[in-house]
């Protein structure tokens, strides 16, 4: 197992290096951090000053090497756009994304597993067809559209219908005014972005869980358990679900890793400054320093969760040996 982990980590390093270099070159070639100075009221020498400050007059390879040298020494540099420490920016954005992901995954996993199991156990029942239809709708719904509809139906309209002083659900950031911490205000703000995030996830995972459960329920050992008089609930949960969860858990681990790159649409609609928005804002500004650091962090999460998926698979299924 340790050998396996070590090799995977070693393979990751060149992948991350190549990805960050390519992104750096792409950003430098495509986006100009001094563009805003050309479209505003800056004086004619402002662009040259900014190019010198950012080291844009050096070859791209030199710029990247300078950045890499600092990065491996723990200096993530300063944002070319905001002058903030890149480490602080990513840490802050990551925290917002983690909150969204955590609650989203918790809700998605709970509902997806429940729906998938029910659909498999009661295959072709009216409720199974209903869940199937809803899954397809969920998969087809653009998150942007769903988010705005959710705001309209669950926040804006109830204020008018019931003449409320404030909306039941809020949709600007994760807190109102001075409020902080885990409280009712936080939950009211969290509900709609989490709902928007989970719609597509639940749709996909529930289908996966249903298929996996159906496959397991057809197995010989399930038939044997039933024949031996094991209670139905025990057959489904202890024997069926535990085995059907194995492939879903690995899919979840892979999906979660990708989510750490941020959910730009949800974050934009609900004004949450997470990793997705950080990437988008930095890309538009040509802020290569932030973008490559973002790439490294996201790549690490993806690789970590990929690794976790492999390890979990091996742990949950003793027939699998990692080598």
């Amino acid at each position: 197992m340790l050998n396996f982990l070590g090799r995977r980590i070693l393979y990751t390093i060149p992948v991350v290096l190549i990805a960050s270099f390519l992104l750096f070159v792409f950003v430098r070639a495509t986006f100009d951090p001094t563009a805003k100075l050309r479209s505003g009221r800056a004086d004619s020498a402002a662009v040259a000053r900014e190019q010198e400050r950012l080291g844009l007059d050096k070859p791209v390879v030199v710029q990247y090497t300078n950045w890499l040298g600092d990065f491996v020494r723990g200096d993530w540099g300063q944002s070319e756009r905001t002058r903030e420490d890149v480490f602080d920016m990513i840490r802050r954005s990551l925290w917002y994304t983690v909150q969204l992901i955590f609650w989203g995954i918790l809700l998605s996993a709970t509902i997806a597993i429940a729906v998938g199991v029910y659909s498999a156990v009661k295959q072709y029942s009216p409720l199974d067809y209903t869940f199937t239809g809803m899954s397809f709708v969920g998969l087809a719904l653009p998150p942007f559209w769903f988010g705005l509809i959710a705001i309209e139906l669950l926040a804006v309209q109830p204020v008018k219908w019931f003449d409320l002083q404030q909306p039941i659900f809020s949709f600007v950031g994760l807190h109102s005014g001075d409020s902080t911490g885990f409280n009712l205000d936080y939950l009211r703000h969290l509900a709609l972005p989490v709902l928007t995030l989970t719609v597509q996830i639940i749709a996909g995972w529930s289908r996966f869980q249903r298929a996996s459960m159906l496959d397991v329920l057809q197995s010989d050992y399930i038939r044997t358990a039933r024949a031996k008089g094991v209670p139905r609930r025990q057959v489904i949960v202890k024997h069926g679900l535990r085995n059907a969860l194995i492939p879903l858990v690995t899919v979840m681990a892979l999906d979660i890793g990708v989510l750490f790159g941020g959910v730009i649409i949800t974050e934009t609609i609900f004004s949450i400054p997470g990793m997705g928005r950080l990437f988008y804002d930095s890309l538009l500004a040509g802020d290569a320093t932030v973008l490559v650091a973002w790439t490294v962090v996201t790549a690490v999460f993806i690789v970590t969760f990929n690794l976790l998926a492999d390890v979990l698979y091996g742990v949950l299924d003793p027939r699998v040996r990692l080598s």
């Binding site: 495509t30 400050r53 909150q99 902080t180 004004s271 538009l284 742990v315």
Partner: protein, 565 residues
Amino acid sequence: MSRRNVLVRGFALGVVFALVLAACGGSDDESSTSPTNPASGSGAPDAGTLVLAAEQEPDCADWIASCAGLAWGAWIMQYQTMPLAFNIVKSGANWTYAPSNLLAEPPTLTPGPPQVVTYKINPAAVWSDGTPITSTDFKYTWDQIANSEDVYSKTGYENIASVDDTDPATAVVTFKPDQSYGPWRALFGTDYGVWPSHILEGKNRDKATKDGYKWSGGPWKIESWNRGVDVTLIPNDAYWGEKPKISKVIFKFIPDTTAQFKAFQTGEVLGIYPQPQLDAVDAIKEGLPNAKTVYTADTGSIEALWMNNAKAPLNSVAVRQAIAYAIDRDAIVARLFGDLGVDKASQSLNPPITSEFGDQQAWAGYTLDLQKVDQLLTGEGWAKGSDGIYAKNGKKLSLTITTTADNQRRELTEQILQEQLKAAGIDLKIKNQSADQLFGVTLVEGNYQMALYAQVSTNLDPGLCVIMCSSNVPSKANDNSGQNYTRTEIPALDPLLTAVDRSSDDALRDQSQAQADQLMAENQVSLPLDPLPNIAIWSDKISGDLSDNPIMAMFWNMNTWQLQG
């Protein structure tokens, strides 16, 4: 270890993580500056918290540096906390500069050369720590802008030779003998304000301010700035002018226009200042109950059809004029902003707020006239083909227009232009690109024929030399940093526009600008289109003089507002 144990331990770990996550919810504000004591004016009754929407978050709070170009930063933080030598006020039909309460009396101007401006500082003017605002602060401000490396724009300040601070109550600003500066009223004002030398002298200004600052010389202070979330202002107790009547103002950053409107409808925010995009106009059309709205075309922004005068066939005055006569500009403006009561095109390349200067009707003669189009083009050897499009020497009169991608208003404008020009016999192709590509590469290199974008002015003075003087055509001579993207090179134009920038004689500036406007219109260097209106929306829970300011936005007099209920 059995699988069961692994699962149980994994579940337990998850529960612990959830509890830790729940307890750590306070990290939302971990990036903020540390809060000061709540409400200034300790002992004063709580006059409420006002929550407003801000469409963009400033990149930094070092207003002098290159990171501080966003107008929103100026509107919600800079103008609320920095002392300004001049305010922008309405006088009759025009906007004009008025000396602020930072000054004891209007500054005196000695035209020279050298030009000298003397500022008498109000003895009551103090920083938030009680230290008087002095001429040394003027000197420090000038020095930082003229001599620092990281500066957004040194325009005007690099013309200054010295600032005499011998008398703390009097700042004597002497310009270089050959560099008088016409727009001197903008200095130490809405561009950068006046900075506190006693706090920043000897320090790294950028480091001390980029994430916000605790001092103030305006009616408000920055209590906290939660990056990505909001910025909170509280009253500055030491302010010598009209003190705020609201205990706290929170600007929440809401980048999505639709979300802004919905937040306003639910009362999450009580004021919004959206960009004049199509979805904003649509939302206003649907109705906003319990709101006061102000729409005005009297702004510092103007959208124009900028033409590359050096690129064929636009290197012909006749062709440029023909295009101007082929377009019904009023129809375009009416389509975009008619629902806001704005339906007249701009007739000058200067924005409406500079109406004290120049000929604001210079382009008024360019109205839809297809006969004139035909006359001009046939005079140049063009003839209409069987497809209705003019052609010459086997080549169609086909032009390409570009603008910033994903801007609905501009895309609609392009489509209307395409239809109108086609009806006049001119083919128009649309090829949009990112803002970075457009402003960073395309315009600089001149690889375009027509471009649609806005010019934004942040003061009341016209300043077209930067985009129309021949020395500002991007070239090796200026390291390709010139902004004369239209490649306008009219010998008689340069001295006129230079006089507008350099002379301190306002009458001469007005006359020079008028002559320049007429010259540019005769040559049809580019075509002004729509004045971009400002849209200001307040909840009826806010009372006071609620109006828009073209430079300082709807928040210009926030210290006079009150909350109802």
